[in-house]
Assembly symmetry: C2
């Protein structure tokens, strides 16, 4: 009822005032209620799940749209990078659902007729390379005229059974919070490419390239996601497309739990560690709240967490608390700034 009242009040306001998260929060439950009879996982997770018929397999579907000037800048993004990333972010959504085998997808491309044909060739080459590596088939698409370059990919994957899927909603107090790979590299890479953090420009060129590559060519963690499912003890899962802090907040909301994050545990790449020697706060902020790493963030029962730490699949970054304990961020045991302080960092 409260939500309903808010709906009526906001309908005259602009999307700007409501915000993207507000918009999705507003639309998805409505779509779910009105439209989603067949979906066995409700809209709002990284991807939707639909029974695929008599075989018992589950069809997992996701879509992401990248728009020039909003999601990428052609000054520093090569067409190959763009093709790679357009598919990678969708494959990351499939990984974020658990043990999902990439299947096939379609690509809609909006592009200016003034672009050289070679640009499109390179874009598809970037897409083809990552598709092949993950045995993903691009089976069709639509190409139209557009002012701003626009790429929309819809990707379908397959899960054998419901237990292959891990949603955002299963975290329980006593679970540990873990993350694959390293955190903050993509956000540092963006600052370098945008020349927004002059301090970072003093880093050796090789390190700058490494950080930028994490932004431009993210690798979907499909193999790691399979491992997570196999432990049987991973209770919630999503990707870190909007940063670890946002991922933990999403798990908290979906699972109705509290959480504790340990800043000194956030896994840093070699490049980030070197940058941190001169700019510790910048790197820490990026690791906590920087987006676009496309790593996995998840919660696990203690035994599963231990197994995944032992084989270096992931790093320990915190633990799940009771809902009433809220979100607490610690640095070497000391309580730090409220999460709101990091919001400026999110793209």
């Amino acid at each position: 009822l409260g939500a309903r009242t808010r709906t009526n009040k906001t309908s005259q306001r602009s999307l700007n005032a409501v915000g993207e998260a507000g918009l999705l929060g507003r639309l998805l439950p409505k779509l779910s209620r009105e439209l989603s009879r067949s979906a066995s996982v409700k809209p709002g997770d990284d991807a939707a799940v639909v029974p695929a018929g008599p075989g018992g397999r589950l069809c997992v579907i996701t879509t992401d749209i990248l728009i020039e000037g909003v999601h990428f800048d052609l000054d520093w993004t090569s067409p190959e990078d763009l093709g790679h990333k357009a598919l990678a972010v969708n494959l990351s959504d499939l990984a974020a659902m658990g043990n999902v085998t990439p299947g096939f997808g379609v690509v809609s491309l909006g592009i200016s007729p003034k672009k050289p044909v070679a640009f499109v060739d390179k874009l598809y080459r970037g897409m083809a390379r990552i598709a092949k590596r993950h045995a993903f088939d691009i089976v069709g698409g639509d190409t139209v005229r557009s002012r701003d370059l626009t790429i929309s990919v819809a990707a379908v994957g397959w899960a054998k059974r419901p237990s292959d899927l891990i949603l955002r909603s299963g975290a329980r107090p006593g679970d540990f919070i873990l993350a694959t790979g390293t955190a903050g590299d993509a956000a540092l890479g963006l600052k370098i490419l945008q020349k927004k953090a002059p301090a970072l420009l003093n880093l050796p060129a090789g390190l700058r390239r490494e950080l930028a590559a994490r932004l431009l060519r993210p690798e979907p963690r499909l193999a790691a996601a399979k491992k997570l499912v196999k432990t049987g003890g991973v209770t919630s899962l999503l990707d870190s497309s909007d940063g670890i802090l946002r991922s933990v907040q999403i798990i908290r909301e979906a699972s109705h739990v509290g959480a504790e994050i340990w800043l000194e545990r956030l896994p840093l790449s070699g490049a980030a560690q070197i940058a941190a020697r001169q700019h510790p706060q910048l790197v820490l902020d990026a690791a906590l709240a920087g987006g676009e790493d496309y790593e996995l963030v998840f919660t696990a029962r203690p035994a599963a967490a231990q197994a995944l730490l032992a084989d270096k699949t992931a790093s320990l970054i915190g633990r799940v608390l009771n809902f009433s304990e809220g979100l607490q961020i610690y640095h070497h045991g000391k309580l730090r700034r409220a999460p709101r302080a990091y919001e400026h960092f999110a793209r």
Copy 2:
């Protein structure tokens, strides 16, 4: 080899010079060759087809993207219309594949943050209504910031067996050419909305609204497509999204046949017939070459054609010839202008 040579030559040219059809013709075979291991229907048809697993069902997938200023004008397109059309054109792609049951899909929306929330509500309401009518589930999506309003839908449908599908490539000399519904209404509707044909503005308001509605709210012909498959004698099929002439040309290329179109047989709506009394050439051009009617154009063996004419599922508009006979357009038995003369009409 010839195609390969052309590829190298064109890679420095702009997309403008190559054209959209040229671009798709260039990309799709390449994607098919490089990427499409699982697709059982090659890219280039209205939708792609992928085996859905042990059940033996086939997964049919399509995508269409609509961009403001290119595909629609918000001056005369209501948000409900736009939501309806974004889904309708995708469902039409499914119908154009044969006996396909709509399943589920995802929606990517690029929208300016300045748009009122009510706009998005109405857009989704238009989408929800047609989705419900066709038992289609919108299971997820992505919403991002964008200068131009952009809607990309990917739609998945199911076919029970390969014989439920009719491709573009099965037409044979001796088949008849048929079309469902009426032709040219959407193109006339566009001219009315654009105020580009002053003559049409003299039509009674009711007729003008009727023609405009055909452009703004096309109805996918899923039920008719099922009937076509049941005859067992329909040999090729697609929708008339780019007009009947273009549809026939596509069937000719895919099936390697010639064709004869009988202009006086093109089925006209009541509104178009009334318009034709004052503007016969304008209406005839629209019926032959105007796009966006989203009716079905198909070829059928004589017995199947007869059955479909008898129950008024479709109208007879021509016949399939040998490849060497090319394309011939007749009006009351007289050979008419070359098809090129109609190209200006295509959007």
